[in-house]
């Protein structure tokens, strides 16, 4: 029996692990993929207080080593369901079952797909969700970035350094992204903005050869030849397996306020997977601390 089981080893989950073991309680962190969560895709973190510059990989590894060296246990098992037996909770994974006194759901968020045909099939064959990882493979080629937020604009800026031409496809007529970055992008001569448009089809037989886009206002469609599509249309949570346990909002986020408490006693939530307005590294870490101390307090 563990005191606290934490689902997810991203910044929120690992921070929760640190606070749990430092409160003298045992912690098991369950992770289906790799530790670190989304932050490992970020080449430079420059907004975490106290650290001027660090790569996402280094940050995640430091956090992982800190949590495990303090005594938190990490198992690479995907949690699939949780049974609430009052004072005892049972967390089932694909490999086994674990009992605990409190659970912290820190499942994070994942890249939202476009949700169109061939998208899954062409991952690695022209579809990418990480411009900084894959941009270099598109040197002198034409690519499309889909989205209008910070990630999309940062991705497009990055890609203009490598690619022959970068199309930015956005369904609205304005960008949500930082205006400074948008201005910087507009000054590049190898970028073309395709506004009020959505990607309807991915073209190509065995890899991406183009996209069919549709203008929202005129309803007209046209094809653009590109060999890469960088998808940056935001994040979505991954909480469906817990929908019969805790309350989710209509987008699938676990409903909780700054106290990180769900509607179920002994079940807490931390980080990007919960309803909140600011999803940043610092707020994920803060949630981890808040959730862990609340969980430890009810165990005593």
């Amino acid at each position: 029996m563990f005191d606290v089981i934490i689902v997810g080893a991203g910044p929120a989950g690992l921070s929760a692990g640190i606070y749990t073991v430092r409160s003298g309680k045992s912690a098991l962190i369950l992770e289906g993929k790799s530790y670190g969560g989304q932050i490992i895709n970020t080449p430079d973190i420059e907004n975490y207080p106290g650290i001027k510059n660090i790569s996402g990989f280094e940050f995640a590894t430091g956090l992982y080593e800190q949590a495990t060296s303090l005594g938190a246990e990490v198992k690479y098992e995907q949690a699939v369901s949780i049974e609430d037996k009052g004072d005892i909770k049972i967390v089932n994974t694909e490999q086994g079952s674990y009992e605990c006194k409190a659970v912290i759901l820190a499942t994070g968020a994942k890249n939202r797909p476009l949700g169109i045909e061939k998208e899954k099939e062409f991952v690695g064959y022209g579809i990418s969700y990480c411009a900084t990882c894959d941009g270099a493979f598109y040197r002198n080629k034409d690519v499309a970035v889909v989205g209008g937020g910070n990630t999309a604009i940062e991705d497009a800026l990055f890609l203009t350094n490598y690619c022959n031409k970068v199309y930015v496809i956005h369904r609205r007529d304005t960008f949500r992204a930082d205006p400074k970055d948008v201005e910087k992008l507009k000054s590049k001569d190898n970028v073309e903005f395709v506004m009020n448009s959505t990607v309807e089809k991915i073209l190509g037989e065995s890899s991406v050869e183009g996209i069919e886009i549709k203008d929202k206002n005129t309803k007209e469609t046209k094809n653009i030849n590109v060999s890469g599509i960088f998808v940056a249309v935001g994040q979505e949570p991954d909480n469906q397996m817990f929908s019969d346990l805790v309350e989710l909002d209509e987008s699938g986020y676990i409903i909780a306020k700054e106290d990180c408490m769900t509607n179920v006693k002994g079940i807490y939530t931390a980080g990007d997977c919960r309803t909140k307005s600011v999803r940043q590294l610092t707020t994920a870490a803060a949630d981890g601390a808040v959730a862990a101390l609340a969980a430890c307090a009810i165990i005593d």
């Binding site: 993929k33 790799s34 530790y35 670190g36 932050i39 490992i40 895709n41 970020t42 080449p43 790569s55 996402g56 990989f57 995640a60 690479y76 991952v123 690695g124 064959y125 022209g126 579809i127 990418s128 990480c130 900084t132 990882c133 894959d134 270099a136 493979f137 598109y138 040197r139 890899s207 890469g228």
Partner: protein
Amino acid sequence: MAAIVLNKDNFEAEVLNSDVPVLVDFSASWCGPCQMIAPIIEEIADEAEGFKVGKVETSEEMDLALEYKVSSIPCLVVFKGGKEVKRSVGFIQKPEILELVK
């Protein structure tokens, strides 16, 4: 044995002409998920029986990456008898990697 560092000069001898299957990890130092998978690849290379493991640093061997149509990394490709037989893109855990070479 540590993973073999592959380049365009030894790729044919080490991979295409190998008499055992070869698991090749196409990665780059600038890519976080690649750094996450790197220690797992080394662990598999140490324990490998009946196959061998190689790695391509794509920032130095871009021609090799493009020749094998690698456009997202980490990209794991299994070669058997000189031909690609399996491919997986993105971070996966050790059991899933071992499944690729089984």
